[in-house]
Every structure is written in structure tokens, then in C-alpha cells.
């Protein structure tokens, strides 16, 4: 292959950007799945009329069928109903943890970016300390102090994601402050406060929407990991991670108890990533 062929075959930057601006089939699928999860979270009864806590021992361990889409568990409860009714808990934890992490991260990042040299130094050292405690470790430490539960899980996942967001916000803020349009505003005599409000903050915070979308999926994964370990939501409440943990005992006889709740965690995380990356590409190509 000659060099010219290669140049023609590889998409140039401009083509890559144009291609990125279109929403692909993957993004539509991701959006559709997330819409289903959100609908399940706000109106679970609509999608799955069966009671997720109703025990029916005669129909325990039914494999997946047309009547029982995802099969039943050891007490004859419908797995489909439990997955649908569990969406609310999982989504709420994911969104609340991400909001907490993003909020705290943004506050720290903006403080470091605007507060001058000494504040920046201090915040950076604090972030270094937090980075030395990997996500789940920080969460487990918090659980030792506060005790297990859904609220602790949310707090822990939010706190452990904050330093990452703080670093991104700080870097973005420094880039925006050095950007030509900010310089132009300074030259034109725009006041400090107005410059901050009209130019610096909007351009710093715009990428956060994409980051948040990416973050919710991962937050759900880590929160359900804590539930799986028995430190978050506890059975019989239909939380996805807790359902998987309950299915562990029956793995060799009733695979559907573990596979379907996990599939929903994966699909939610993947959908969040696909949409978040779509947002990111679009903000970059503008």
C-alpha cells in the first residue's frame, strides 16, 4: 500500500468530526434502553404488574418462559418484576452518587482553578491523598465508620468519584482561562465577574453533562458491587446487585437468577457510556 493510498483510506480529522456529529444506531439503542429503565423507575407497575415481593412457593425456580420472561427465584417471585421494580433504587443511587461526585468535584476543581497558587497547591495535595485510596477502598472505609446501607453506598460512590471530576474540571478551567476568547474579553475590558460568568464558567462546565452521563453507569456498577458484597441494599428489596448476590447460591441450578439482573446493570452502564461519548464528540466537534 503506498503512502497516498493510506492517506486516502484513513479518515481525515474533518471526516471523523462530521461522522461523529450524526447519531448512530448505537446511540438510538442506548437512548431507548435508558428510556425503558427510567420508565421502570418512575412507573414500575406499568411495565411489570406482578408484585416483586409476592411469594409463590409452588412456582419456585421456574426457568424463563413466555409467562415468566426472566423465570422465578427460590420463593417463586418473578425475576422480571423484581428487575423492573429494582430499576428505581439502582438508578436513584447512580444519579445521586454522580450528582454528589460531580458537585463536590466541580467545587474543588473551580476552587483550585480560581483560588490562586496557594489554594491550588492545597487542593491538589488533597486530591493526591484521595487518589491514593482507590474507589472501593474509600467506600469500604466509609462503611466501617458509618455502617452499611443504601445511603452509605451512595455517599461512598459519590465521594470516591469526586477527585477524578475535580481534576478534569481544574484542567478544563485552566484551558478556558488561557483560551483566545477569554484573552479577547480581557483586552476588551470585560470585568472579572462578568468574564467569569459569561465566558469561563459556561465553557468549563459544558463538558460536565457528558461526564455525568458517563459517570451514572459506572456509579451503578460500583454501588451494585457493594450490594453484591452485602454492604448496600439488602434482600428482599429488589436491588440489582443484591439480586445477583441472592442468585449466587443457586448458580448451578437457576442461572437466570444471576444473569438477568446483571444484564440490566451491564446494559445501563453501556448505554450511559455510549450516550456520554456521543455528547462528548458533539461538544468537541462544535
Amino acid at each position: 500500500m503506498s503512502a497516498l493510498d493510506v492517506r486516502a483510506a484513513a479518515p481525515t480529522g474533518a471526516v471523523r468530526v462530521r461522522r461523529a456529529a450524526r447519531a448512530g444506531a448505537g446511540e438510538w439503542l442506548a437512548l431507548a434502553f435508558l428510556a425503558f429503565v427510567v420508565l421502570a423507575a418512575v412507573a414500575a407497575g406499568l411495565l411489570a404488574p406482578a408484585d416483586p415481593l409476592a411469594i409463590d412457593p409452588a412456582n419456585a425456580f421456574d426457568p424463563p418462559s413466555l409467562a415468566q420472561l426472566f423465570g422465578t427465584d427460590e420463593s417463586g417471585r418473578s425475576i422480571f418484576a423484581r428487575v423492573v421494580h429494582g430499576a428505581g433504587t439502582s438508578l436513584l443511587i447512580g444519579v445521586a452518587a454522580t450528582a454528589l461526585g460531580l458537585g463536590l468535584g466541580t467545587a474543588l476543581g473551580v476552587l483550585a482553578g480560581l483560588g490562586g497558587r496557594f489554594v491550588d497547591f492545597g487542593v491538589n495535595r488533597l486530591l493526591e491523598v484521595l487518589f491514593a485510596l482507590p474507589g472501593l477502598l474509600l467506600a469500604l472505609f466509609l462503611i466501617v465508620i458509618v455502617g452499611p446501607g443504601t445511603l452509605t453506598t451512595t455517599l461512598a460512590v459519590g465521594l470516591s468519584t469526586a477527585p477524578g471530576y475535580a481534576r478534569i474540571v481544574r484542567a478544563q478551567l485552566l484551558t478556558v482561562r488561557a483560551a483566545p476568547y477569554t484573552e479577547a474579553a480581557t483586552v476588551l475590558g470585560v470585568g472579572w465577574w462578568r468574564k467569569l460568568r459569561r465566558h469561563i464558567l459556561p465553557n468549563t462546565l459544558a463538558p460536565l453533562l457528558a461526564l455525568g452521563t458517563l459517570g451514572v453507569g459506572q456509579a451503578i456498577v460500583w454501588a451494585s458491587a457493594l450490594s453484591y458484597l452485602g454492604l448496600g441494599a439488602v434482600p428482599p428489596s429488589p436491588e440489582w446487585g443484591a439480586m445477583l448476590a441472592a442468585g449466587r447460591t443457586y448458580l448451578s441450578t437457576a442461572w437466570w437468577m444471576s444473569v438477568f439482573p446483571g444484564l440490566f446493570i451491564v446494559l445501563t452502564a453501556v448505554s450511559g457510556t455510549v450516550l456520554g461519548r456521543g455528547f462528548q464528540r458533539r461538544t468537541r466537534s462544535r
Binding site: E128, L133, P134, V144, L229, V259, A269
Partner: protein
């Protein structure tokens, strides 16, 4: 930077010296971080409601006598002022004394050291496997045009979205319950390591692959790649000798993060595969509120994290001559 390009290289010895100085400075900063972590854990643990002496004697249900409580307080220095306790704790940690476990009644430091090897082996193997998978995926998916790119990107996103506990469950279902090829719990020996390593490596490869593919694409469009092609270098040669090095850089920079991710994952994976190690020890300690063990693991992991970041920082500077030493 392409090899043999006309650029005045600083004398090698001067660069090596600056790298050593930088490593020393980073290690000094690391000691400060460790001190901060120790301080943070000490004061955070004072927020636990309840009497630590009571916890030492088996929790609120134990109905320990007032004399026994007083004896424990004196033994652990709990009757002294907070500052004295803090300094005493720092002094102990500095000499490698992590105290003794509430639940197991053994010294924490030897306990953790005996568990460290298993977790390190798991993490290193998973890191290596994740790297190889990510590089293979990145170089394959940038070769096959648009379809390859789509497939590669989809595999990476799905891989990164797989929770360890679910991937492990599915792997056990397929390879242990279904096919019967591999043990569902981690037996000693290489066969028992396969499923835990794969469980940790696949999501990691998903994250690393996303970053590596982006930078590989950028490198293949960079001027130095064009000039290498113009010199008549084959496409494979351009990739091997020039582009892959670029693709590896962000991966190296992410190693500190990857280490933390693997330690978090080890808690889950060691529990599922009933494999002895630091993660499982930590989880047991958390459920039993065995504070000295939890603090010990936190400090040990922070120390390891600092070492990893110092090493990768220096490695990135050796790998990329553009970064000043």
C-alpha cells in the same frame, strides 16, 4: 518523536540524573501523602459511634465488666488525650507496627504481608493481560476500516461496562458449571488463576483500549507517520516502530488508576472465587468492623499506589523523550 530525527538530545547522563532527582522528589511527596492518609484515617475513625474498648471486647453484646474495659483502655492508650494517641499511633506506624486485629487476635502487619503476595500476583497478571488485550484490540480495530473501528469500539464499551461480579458469575456458569473446564473456586496452581485473571482483565482492557485506540488513530494521522510512509516504510512498520509507542503512552499514564481499579476489583474477585488475598481480608475486616486490619490495608494500598505512580511517572519520561525530565 521518530528515531533518528534531527534534534539535539541532552547528554544522557544529565537526563538520567534529573530523572533520579525527580524520582526522589516524588518519593518525598509520597511520604507526605502517606502521613496525610494516616492522619485522615486516625481522625475519621474517632467518628465511629460507640466505645472502642467495647468493640475490642467483642461489641456491645459482650457485657464486659467495667474493670475489663478499663484494662483494655489502659492497654491501648485509649484513656490518654487524643493528641497523645495520635502521636503514639504515628510512631507505631512509622516502625511498621500496625497493631493487632480485633477479630483474629493476631498482629496485623504479618497478616497483611502473608496476604499481599496472592493479590499482587493476581493484579500483575490481570494488568499484563489487560494491556495485551487492549493493544491487540486497538491495533486490530484501527486496521479494518470503519467496520473494524465500530466493532472494536463496541467491544471496548461493553468490556468497560461489565461489573466484575457479573462477569465472574457468567464465566463460572460457562466454564465451570457448563463445560467443566475450570474450577469455580480459585484452587492453587495456574488453572485456578485463569478465571480470576480474565474477570479482572476484560473490563480493564475495555477502559485502556478506548484510550489507546484514540491515540493510535491520532498517531497514524500525525506528520511523523506521514514522513515515515514517505520514506517508504511499510504500514506495518509505521505501526510497530512509531504509532504503537504513542498508543502506549496514555496507557502508561493510566497505570496508577489501573492499579487502584484492580485493587477494588480484587475485593470482589477474591470473594467470589474464594481466593485468599488482601481484598478478601479487607472485606472480612469491614463486615466485622476490625478497625486495625482496615487501616492496615488502606495504608498498604496507599503505599503501593504511590510506588506505582512514581514508577509510571519515570517510565513515561523514559518512553517519551519530549517530556522534560
Amino acid at each position: 518523536m521518530t528515531p533518528g530525527s534531527p534534534r539535539a538530545e541532552p547528554p544522557a547522563a544529565g537526563r538520567a540524573g534529573r530523572l533520579a532527582l525527580r524520582a526522589l522528589a516524588r518519593i518525598g511527596g509520597g511520604v507526605l501523602v502517606l502521613w496525610a492518609v494516616a492522619t485522615l484515617t486516625f481522625f475519621a475513625l474517632r467518628l465511629i459511634p460507640g466505645d472502642p474498648a467495647q468493640a475490642l471486647l467483642g461489641g456491645p453484646g459482650s457485657q464486659a465488666s467495667e474493670e475489663a474495659l478499663a484494662a483494655v483502655r489502659a492497654e491501648y492508650g485509649l484513656d490518654q488525650p487524643l493528641l497523645a494517641q495520635y502521636l503514639r499511633q504515628l510512631g507505631r506506624l512509622a516502625t511498621g507496627d500496625f497493631g493487632s486485629s480485633y477479630a483474629l487476635r493476631t498482629e496485623v502487619a504479618p497478616l497483611l504481608l502473608s496476604q499481599l503476595g496472592g493479590t499482587l500476583l493476581l493484579a500483575v497478571l490481570a494488568l499484563a493481560a489487560g494491556w495485551v488485550l487492549a493493544l491487540l484490540l486497538a491495533s486490530w480495530s484501527t486496521r479494518g476500516g470503519r467496520v473494524g473501528e465500530r466493532i472494536g469500539s463496541a467491544l471496548e464499551v461493553v468490556g468497560a461496562g461489565l461489573p466484575h461480579f457479573w462477569l465472574a458469575t457468567v464465566l463460572i456458569l460457562v466454564f465451570s458449571v457448563g463445560l467443566g473446564w475450570l474450577p469455580p473456586i480459585s484452587t492453587p496452581g495456574p488453572l485456578g488463576l485463569v478465571l480470576p485473571v480474565v474477570t479482572l482483565a476484560v473490563p480493564l482492557a475495555g477502559f485502556l483500549g478506548q484510550v489507546m485506540r484514540e491515540s493510535l488513530l491520532d498517531a497514524l494521522e500525525a506528520p511523523f507517520a506521514l514522513s515515515a510512509r514517505a520514506r517508504g516504510e511499510s504500514e506495518g512498520g509505521v505501526r510497530r516502530r512509531h504509532a504503537l509507542r504513542h498508543a502506549a503512552l496514555p496507557g502508561v499514564a493510566l497505570s496508577g488508576w489501573a492499579f487502584g481499579y484492580l485493587i477494588s476489583g480484587a475485593v470482589v474477585v477474591e470473594t467470589i472465587f474464594a481466593r485468599p488475598g488482601l481484598g478478601r481480608t479487607l472485606l472480612n475486616a469491614v463486615t466485622e468492623r476490625d478497625v486495625p486490619v482496615v487501616v492496615g490495608v488502606v495504608l498498604l494500598v496507599a503505599l503501593a499506589y504511590i510506588l506505582v505512580t512514581v514508577v509510571t511517572d519515570i517510565a513515561a519520561r523514559i518512553l517519551d523523550p519530549r517530556v522534560p525530565a
